[in-house]
């Protein structure tokens, strides 16, 4: 019986623990500094908006852990002594392990902006960040305006949260269209418009120069680089991406890059030490994936995989076809396979784009210019079935086939209007003119 210790009670660590328990009788301990129990980080926004309470974000009831003999410990690990196979907590307590899984997730990026550590300036990642936001922006009387810096998925969630309490929001986005490093222009444009429809003051192509303090060390305004404009505000949300939360490992001898360096077996350079989830960095990117993948699903998949290795069935981390999803205010987004933005796509990648004339719906299908091989799809406002696309990608279907069979993949609720025929017509049209 091995003594397995996991640092981090997020989706990666918890999935690993659950699967290790399924496969073995090992002793399992999960350590976290953040909360007593695993909760869903992706649901933080709904707590602030009043859709749910914190307790509803916990995917397992509290009795679950004891029942499955998974020990939970609330502590911050400040040191990993790999020679002694021991962890040291901030209280100085020592914890021994046979196998160590590092699943410490991410932390919000800060780019050295003047004033980034003032009161009222915060990211949105942890439970503590949520508490901070509740204190900083309980209502529009306390917070007359919030400025959000960084146009990614967390930024737009934070804007939605604040708007739910009628707090005026200015949204500074460095790119000249929202998330256009990832989304093709048409889609990015749709989201720009939707953000404005929600009365969010979207400033594209705009950078933060500095945050100005009042006499109490609290943010009172931000200054914009391009125009020098000074925007009074009480809260500044820093949402310019995240990076691995690994500072405590600096002295440990574990090889670090931006994240904890791992091979395809999720092993670090030190025996019996593994890393999974947001904090893991692959030596070589897998396929078109990035070396660090800070999304929920990959954390879960790494957990599922590593449990096998730890329990004696050594297998590589071999994720299947890429998929992801998000919601931009009221518009749901799903993606299967690879669709790149104009900024990052290759010569070979061609796009078919369809947009509904007035409803907030569109799709982009990426395919190979020459072979017509289907590469991926982005959908906005239309739900699609994961299974179909996964299958079509595996079967290496061409774009004609996919567009023709699109109705089979529709996953919208019953009685919804279906647009697949319009899409097919538009596709045939474009091909004839092209």
């Amino acid at each position: 019986m091995k003594n397995i210790v996991i640092i981090g009670n997020g989706i990666a660590g918890v999935t690993a623990a659950r699967h290790i328990r399924k496969l073995s009788d090992n002793k399992i301990t999960i350590i976290s500094a953040e909360t007593d129990h695993f909760f869903s980080r992706t649901a933080l926004m709904y707590v602030y908006m009043g859709h749910m309470k914190y307790e509803h974000t916990k995917p397992y009831e509290d009795y679950f852990w004891k029942k499955n003999r998974i020990d939970l410990k609330r502590a911050y690990i400040k040191q990993v002594l790999t020679d002694d196979k021991t962890l040291v907590t901030s209280e100085g307590e020592k914890i021994a392990y046979d196998s160590l899984i590092i699943a410490t997730g991410s932390k919000p990026n800060k780019f050295g902006w003047p004033g980034q550590d003032l009161k009222g300036v915060q990211g949105l990642y942890s439970y503590q960040d949520l508490e901070k936001l509740e204190a900083n922006a309980p209502d529009k009387e306390t917070c007359n305006r919030a400025v959000i810096v960084g146009g990614g998925l967390i930024g737009i969630e934070m804007a939605e949260m604040l708007r739910s309490r009628n707090i005026p929001v200015t949204f500074l986005v460095r790119e000249d269209s929202f998330w256009n490093g990832v989304l093709p222009a048409g889609e990015s444009g749709l989201i720009n418009k939707h953000i404005l429809d929600h009365h969010i003051d979207l400033r594209l192509g705009t950078n933060l120069k500095e945050i100005i303090s009042d006499e109490n060390g609290r943010a009172k305004a931000v200054v914009i680089t391009e125009t020098g404009e000074e925007l009074p505000c009480n809260v500044v949300g820093l949402t310019a991406g995240v990076s691995p939360n690994i500072d405590f490992l600096k002295e440990s001898g574990i090889e670090l890059g931006r994240g904890v360096k791992v091979n395809r077996f999720l092993e670090t350079n030190i025996k019996d030490v593994y890393a999974i989830g947001d904090c893991a960095e692959q030596h070589e990117p897998i396929g078109m994936r990035r070396p660090i993948e800070a999304v929920w699903y990959t954390g879960r998949m790494m957990g599922e995989t590593l449990a096998q290795t730890i329990c004696g069935n050594k297998i590589e981390y071999k994720p299947g076809h890429w998929f992801n999803s998000a919601k931009f205010l009221d518009i749901e987004y799903q993606t299967y396979g690879w669709v790149f933005s104009e900024r990052s796509k290759s010569e070979q990648e061609a796009h078919f784009h369809w947009m509904h004339p007035d409803e907030d719906k569109c799709i982009t299908v990426a395919y190979d210019k020459d072979s017509k091989l289907f590469l991926g799809i982005n959908t906005f406002g239309i739900r699609m079935r994961h299974e179909n696309f996964d299958k079509w990608l595996t079967e290496k279907r061409d774009v004609d086939y996919v567009i023709k069979h699109l109705p089979e993949a529709n996953f919208d609720p019953e009685f919804y209007k279906q647009f697949e025929n319009q899409i097919l017509a538009a596709y045939n049209n474009q091909l004839q003119t092209a």
Binding site: H51, P59, E304
Partner: protein, 521 residues
Amino acid sequence: MSLAKPNAQDISTKKKVALGIGFTGLFILVLALANVELPYKGLFLTLSLGLIIGGVVIYSRDEYLTKLEGIKNDEAWFKSISSRGTWGWVLGVVLTLFYIVLYFFAELLGLGTDGASNTGLIALFDPLSQLLSGRNASQWFVYGTLYTVAIVAFGYKFMLKYRHNRYQQLRTASVMFFQMAFAFLIPEFMYRLNSDVPYNDIKNMWPLNYYAFDQWRVDQFINSGTIGMAFLIFGILSIFVISPFLTYKYGKRWYCSWVCGCGGLAETAGDPFRHLSSKKMSAWKLERWLIHTVLVFSVVMTTAVIYTYLGYDAEKYWFNKDNFLLFVGGFLTLVFVVIMVFKRHELGKDARYGAIGYALVIVSLIAMHYTGTTNEVFYLPAGGMRSAYGFYIGSIFSGVIGTGFYPILGNRAWCRFGCPMAAVLGFQQRMFSKFRITTNGGQCISCGNCSNSCEMGIDVRAYAQKGENIVRSSCVGCGVCSAVCPRGVLKLENGSLDGRINPTDVLLGNDVDLMELMNNK
């Protein structure tokens, strides 16, 4: 560890006006209740109901049409009324008191007994009752009217809330229609045509309608000629043929979320309370015990009631007592055997409870046979059992607790813990139905919106995060979990029976070999 509950935001002036209008309408009812002599009753009644509906309509339009289409759950857990705050409790107490008075002290509402004319609140409704059926109002007419008003007004609100979702709109239109036509208008008109036919809401079938086969009703049906017989036969077909067929094809939602009046009220007026249902495993356990106990109770009670009046008049009832018991026993045995043979593995541990329930009913039938020479069953008079059922289940459970406790237990407490009809349909849904909620591969982010919104207290997320379809007897197919899911993970579907229940360990999107290894063990 808990986050402070922030204050809900102020409401707009327009909403304040709307509330003022609505409460003025209610106030008229209160005046009538307090026996204030209102002249022109018809006018005041119209005014009152009109103001109530108008208030709800104006409020809803300001609430939803001023915003973009989308999910509107902001502040549900902050508002006092929808988070078991002071206002929630006040409303709960008021509703509960109303139900107690309605069921047990109707004279307080002004019901004229022994031929005396109505006074107070009930008298206010006389003109409408006269208009529809040509008789004076009863407490049930008052209740039926208010119930219908609530479903229509709050149904409108719900349709605006989900104006981006056709499924929600259509099923709401459907419950509004069934309540208005089948529960309210048609029975009243029927009375005009043929006053011998008892009040009959044909969509309200046994066992939800526990008095469906009471002697006086059956007598009246039989005595009132073709139409009465047609109703009686339809009632029997409903539960034994129509409902199993529709449940097989569409799941129990065809009834619970599209037709049923209790469901209708829960989905419309009760919608703001849906998240209050308990999602705990312990609540699920309680649910299974309670609802099936009620079902057993209702089967035994109904059998006993029919048993006692069978056979004394061979002209009217072709059945005699013993044949009837044999028939019931035989039917249940058939169902039991079929399930044990074909579906045992799906039932798992629940099979034991099924067997206990079955055994209880059979023992009761035998007991009836041996003890029930006259009017007694189990040494209890069947009439006593019938009135105990009517009192504890029909009134206290379904009315006082089921609806009065909306703001405390959530909007479907009755449907979940008590309704024997839901138990029957749920059983079919679990065993023999094409219905399931499909989960979309690996897309779930475990956020919990679905579980939170499930009025039946199903922990939808527990399935979705495993990539497993939701096949639960209690699911009423309201579709709200699917609507609120921010990642498009859930779809209510009718499909093939194969692979309907599909537990998975590793979700779609990961290594195909690992999925193969873990999922096909």
